[in-house]
Symmetry: C2
């Protein structure tokens, strides 16, 4: 440490948000180089490379073969797949000196597909899994949360190629198992949750989330084992009524409800002026109609109204996932001016839908089944309609004549799990990995076919699998941190042992150097704090901050022939063991080799 | 090889120029993914990573510490150093979604400087050397020559930081020694040549060139050990005449020389119509004035005339280096129209120079010393002047009143070496590494100062050192190739041993698998050609093409208890040794471990 390029900080950096990221900066593992861009300093770089090594070993173990593509790619293949446009503002685009369009690729499905098309021609060349460990780029709208949301990051992305669905399922299962082993070896707790695949298309898809209150991803789970990210949660709708039951419902009636532009004000007025006999009106009886603007990848904009029970809000992520690749923007006053049929605060189903007077597209929450009866806007200022029945007065969710259903309402704790496994619990996590069964989308777009056993050309089916390597370092920092500093799992720590020379006399310096040398000789990596002008107190604080799992203090007790071994993974002051100098190396070797 | 992602090609790829690059593509090591962009396939990726490992080990051995910066960097630090503009069209620039300017950094002097400024404050923190292994980007005007001139490539760049010149010299020497060790370990012959540092500024600078007829860099050398790239060669001018001798020279006279727009035609007419008594006129007697356009980094353009002896041409690289960061463009007809004082084909010194009637800048070859007498243009159509004397009729090279001298003429074999070590020989090479003493340019521009031992702030002095890692793979391919295929040095080969199962019977398959397993068990990497439907002939051809240094054939002779071991590094058919099956593993281990 007397020559290590390191300056630890006692104060939290101003621009860091998450506790673990603050520690990574304070401990000199990373440093901000640009918005969303980080420099890996020597200790951080070691951790990053150890994570990489674990990922590579497990990829190799399932027979995936490592390759490496350029990050800077021409527009054409991404044009062919549609992603040049679909990515919107989320990728970096640039022109070369000749004016040709390029992108910094966030993932490489297109060019892997083209490569395999170039090399493979027969089912005998498959199954095949290829991977790369690569620096990726993404033009994040809000680069923040340190390494978790960087604009430049390290990822392992792999791709599987099979002739049939069974092959794809097997490749997916192999990757899934490898991912579990990777997170297990990294010492990083994760849950696998069902995921929609968003812009990637495809069928089966799971995310590996590291549960954390600081996570950017919301997910749900049940005691019985169901788990999904909120985008993937599907609604269990209530039973619909049959035609006879619907016919028996009382007719809708329009009432004056002045000054009720919000659900709360509407419920209050309804209970005050139009009370119901059996039970009071609640927000769940109202049908809220929220207007947003969709911006399509080609730049065109369109208003969209989402109808949902008034006790729920739109969930931004579910809505985004549901309308992707379009992006959601607020619907501004100018929009209302352009669509006079949309009466702000009093919008109702009878003026909504592409077949309606306004022609504005209208998507309904799946709970709005045939026979449900609603208090909702009457499309006149200050008026609402009571008893408006889906499937009678307007098309129910998904019913013919309507524009369809949408999964965009907030998921609430206690909602029933779609698989019937009980009430949902809400949680947050950090996305660490993602596995997709892509299917044939990319192979079709780019013409990847091989001859099958019968000599017939068949389109290849693909999977795509990613692990965030720099994100894993960030999550490990978050998950291990305590009030004293970082705590690294042994598998990825920047050193096996941190030897602190605590004291000024030569005996301390000599003994600590001899111990370090003996450990290095035995194949361990050692961080030796040999700084001459630094006090033992500062050295201890730095050792706690840096988080090497085993810290050995060579200090005052050396006169008694004893060094102190401390296990940084144990909470608080940690487990301290006195060990005889003569036994120290053997003791530490046993500890490290577990 | 039955599962390896590999398809070897019998035909040369259409888009490859160099023999080694053709073999890399044919042998499935790399594949073109875009203009100047290459994909590393499994075998190529292994070689690349082995080269990386050697470079890392030698960097670590001189105490350099590994870090990793983003490739995508904001404009500001490069603006502060002036390189945002100086790089001209050679870098990729892009805007993020907020419109902020970024570049894909080709080298990282600025941000290393800023990082060290952030972390170090005292001379006690120095000396310091930092390095990274990184994917770099450069918008090559003519991406070609395969990996040697890619737009995306892997480089090791390192930077040294010292308080004084002696420290910088020591850091430079350490890097220089490490580079020699690296190329030695890689088995790549190089020469170190003096280099001008171009846009980087600074004092001492050397390039490591791999001598090769396919190299893009011309360099010179003498038997006595002088070596420099052509940009760095300085001219030994002839002795100048003193004032008295100049006064004794006959006066200049203008002659009609119709239809002599070229040097050849001028020499012919001069000998025919104005013969000289002692010897005939030659091109060396004429002063040729070549007009080019300089485009400055800020986009402005300026005409420039270079005057040089008529027996030499302008050397594009020397001219580029001499005028950098300006770029050279042709001077077109429109330019002559805009400058009527420049009489095409008959331009002469008396109408040239910023102080002249045309005001056009005029730089002279250093050979145009005071007292040299020239046949040159008279600035009238069809007329030349004879006996125009530098230092009398126009300012000699570098003389007051003129615009200065320029090193831009071709270097010819036999020219005297600037260090007096004899006549120059010309050679070509591939640039593999480059070491610079940058000095204080970047530290000054970005304010990197530390306290010295006396508590005074001093500006840090820096060095910058690069090795092209992907270029090294390319050069190794070129240097090792023979008519049969690639030949890798043992240190970087994709496998230690290539075992060919040559034959269909089970005994061959079993014996080759057993041998491979035994070698892997002993720690070797083995490429096993276990392809069932491929003939021995094809397997042999592929083994030759792939270039693993040791090839073992398990085939017909197995019945006699013998396998054949072939040394691919030996020319032609190579050295073949028969080895008893029982001894094969031990024999191969000894071979590999040397």
């Amino acid at each position: 440490m007397s020559t290590l390029f390191l300056r630890t900080l006692r104060e939290d950096p101003a621009d860091a948000e998450l506790p673990g990221h603050k520690l990574l900066v304070r401990a000199g593992y990373v440093r901000r180089a640009a918005s969303g861009g980080f420099t890996w300093l020597p200790l951080g770089h070691r951790v990053l490379r150890r994570v990489e090594a674990v990922v590579r070993e497990e990829m190799d173990a399932i027979g995936a073969q490592e390759v490496h593509f350029p990050a800077l790619l021409p527009r054409e293949p991404y044009e062919a797949s549609g992603r040049w446009t679909d990515y919107g503002d989320n990728i970096f685009r640039l022109k070369d000196r000749r004016g040709a369009d390029h992108l910094l690729a966030p993932t490489h499905e297109e060019v892997f597909t083209l490569l395999v098309k170039d090399v493979c021609s027969s089912y005998k060349d498959l199954p095949l899994s290829l991977y790369q460990v690569q620096t990726k780029f993404r033009d994040e709208s809000r680069p923040r949360a340190g390494l978790l949301r960087a604009r430049e990051f390290v990822m392992k992305d792999s791709y599987s190629f099979d002739v049939d669905d069974a092959g794809l399922a097997a490749a997916y299962a192999r990757h899934r198992a490898a991912y579990w082993r990777i997170f297990e070896r990294l010492g990083l707790p994760v849950v696998a949750v069902s995921a929609v695949s968003g812009a990637m298309g495809g069928s089966a898809s799971e995310e590996f989330l590291h549960p954390s209150e600081h996570g950017e991803d919301a997910y749900v789970r049940t005691e019985a084992g169901y788990a999904a990210n909120v985008e993937a949660v599907t609604t269990l709708p209530p039973p619909a009524l049959d035609a006879a039951a619907i016919a028996a419902l009382p007719p809708a009636r329009v009432e004056d409800t002045p000054d009720t532009p919000t659900i709360d004000s509407l419920v209050a007025v309804a209970n005050e002026r139009f009370p119901r006999e059996d039970r009071p009106w609640t927000a769940a009886d109202t049908l809220k109609n929220v207007v947003v603007t969709l911006r399509h990848p080609d730049g065109t904009r369109e208003p969209l109204v989402v109808g949902l029970p008034g006790d729920r809000d739109l969930d931004a992520k579910r809505l985004e996932a549901a309308v992707a690749p379009a992006e959601v923007e607020p619907f501004e006053a100018a929009g209302f001016a352009a669509h006079p049929g949309l009466v702000r605060g009093y919008i109702g189903p009878t003026a909504l839908g592409t077949a309606s007077s306004t022609g504005v597209r209208y998507l309904l929450d799946p709970r709005v089944v045939a026979g449900t009866s609603w208090v909702t806007g009457a499309n006149e200022p200050g008026r609402h309609v009571f008893g408006l029945v889906a499937g009678r007065d307007f098309p129910a969710a998904g019913e013919e004549g309507g524009d369809g259903a949408i999964e965009a309402a907030t998921v609430l704790a206690g909602d029933p799990a779609p698989d019937g496994s009980g009430p949902l619990q809400l949680a947050r996590g950090m996305e660490m990995g993602h596995i997709f069964q892509l299917g044939r989308r990319f192979a079709q777009a780019l013409g990847l076919q091989v001859l099958d056993a019968n000599g017939k050309l068949v389109t290849v089916t693909m999977g795509s699998y990613g692990i965030g390597i720099s994100r894993a370092v960030a999550a490990l920092a978050e998950s291990g941190a305590d009030e004293l500093g970082l705590r690294w799992p042994r598998a990825v720590a920047p050193a096996d042992v941190h030897v602190v020379a605590a004291g000024k006399d030569d005996a301390v310096a000599e003994a600590s150097e001899a111990l370090a040398a003996e450990l290095v000789q035995a194949g361990l990596t050692v961080l030796l704090d040999d700084r001459a002008r630094v006090s033992p107190g500062v050295k201890f604080k730095d050792a706690e901050l840096l988080g090497v799992p085993t810290v050995v203090t060579v200090g005052k007790r050396l006169a008694d022939g004893v060094v102190e071994v401390r296990d940084r993974s144990v909470d608080g002051d940690g487990a301290r063991t006195d060990v005889a100098v003569a036994d120290a190396a053997a003791h530490l070797l046993a500890l490290v080799r577990g």
